[in-house]
Symmetry: C2
Amino acid sequence: MHALIVYAHPEPRSFNGAMKDRAVATLESMGWVVEVSDLHAMSFDPLPRRTDFADPENADFFKYQAEQAHAATLENGFAPDIRAELDKLLRAELLILQFPLWWFSVPAILKGWVDRVFAMGVIYGGDVGFYSRGRLRGRRAMLAFTTGGPPEMYGTTGLNGRVDVVLWPLQNGVLNFVGYDVLPHFHAPGPARADDATRAAMLDAWGHRLREIDRTPKLEFHPLDDFDAEAGWTLKPGIKGRTVGQTGTG
Amino acid sequence: MHALIVYAHPEPRSFNGAMKDRAVATLESMGWVVEVSDLHAMSFDPLPRRTDFADPENADFFKYQAEQAHAATLENGFAPDIRAELDKLLRAELLILQFPLWWFSVPAILKGWVDRVFAMGVIYGGDVGFYSRGRLRGRRAMLAFTTGGPPEMYGTTGLNGRVDVVLWPLQNGVLNFVGYDVLPHFHAPGPARADDATRAAMLDAWGHRLREIDRTPKLEFHPLDDFDAEAGWTLKPGIKGRTVGQTGTG
């Protein structure tokens, strides 16, 4: 069983780095083969470029997703750095995104990894399908992140807003979109201002979460069959919205 | 009155490019001085680097926000490209982010613009304050974006989820967080598959939105005074949650 940890922090001795190391050690002790994409150490390029494609379909008008879909039909259509990440992704039964929550989202380098690697025609779209028919269906993925603020700020009355709202674009729009079973996120609040014992306890809790991974229920999202494609992909009549994104009410 | 349009699309002849051009023309016809940060044309670097800071506080441990706060105390603490963007931002009474919605968010190059330019100690944090006490309070900002899918997919029963949930990290976590009055977004759905008349009508609607900008009510967010800092920044007793982020219910 292969796991892939995509890790995005510019400081190797950061708490995010320690979480990445703990995940590698824990999963390996459980028998997983773990690969890590350390995006800063790799100097991963987060920007879409024409050179991402060996044989562009349209050299005059640069539409990234169309070029991805075209490259997917060729033998070696993608630049080597994208192909290498795709190979890791397609080997992995478990994907962990490890990052500091910056501006309620992933840092730019990790957003660029998604923009470039989750390629139309390979991971979703066209014949591949999306959401519960996405290429990565049946596999598991989760977010693991640090914040500056405490958990209360991400509660239902918290200043930053409910965590399921804050994470919706990542959990539904990235992970669920390509078919993953999405496991609950792991949130390490305020490691920069925590004492050593608190930091150690957070790392232990993270290790425990990973050891329990086969007994962790996935988040609930509506399956694609709940939606009517002919009605603009809206919930079919009689299906009650159960997620924060699809409440069914204005 | 200065406006700043931060534009993130790699193809100049894209519909996003046309929206940017229409916004420049419309706002200039209304008497605004318009500046554009065309991130791809500028080859804007979206990644946090040690070289972003002239005189780092801690050369051994790279904590980006701490270095931002330190640089804010110096005369010329930031790298020239960050300083140039900060100057444009601080001149502008109106900020428009113009982008294709990729993976329910901004492309990496625009995320990196936020990560690097919305600097702690300058735009928020420390003595500056955040949310309704943020540095950019009293100014206006809005999102203008394209999607592949139709608007129904972003409705309350849509497959992608309610648009106010999808946009919460950007509208609350980026724009409201630094004090802006957030104007309703402008969504141009499916321009790549639309005919010329539909595309022209969308551009006209965009121009109309901008001409009505002084009569456009801002989105409602809770002011900072609604929250109790001593209780982890949660809504004070008796304040009823009114946004999708702060519902007050589990």
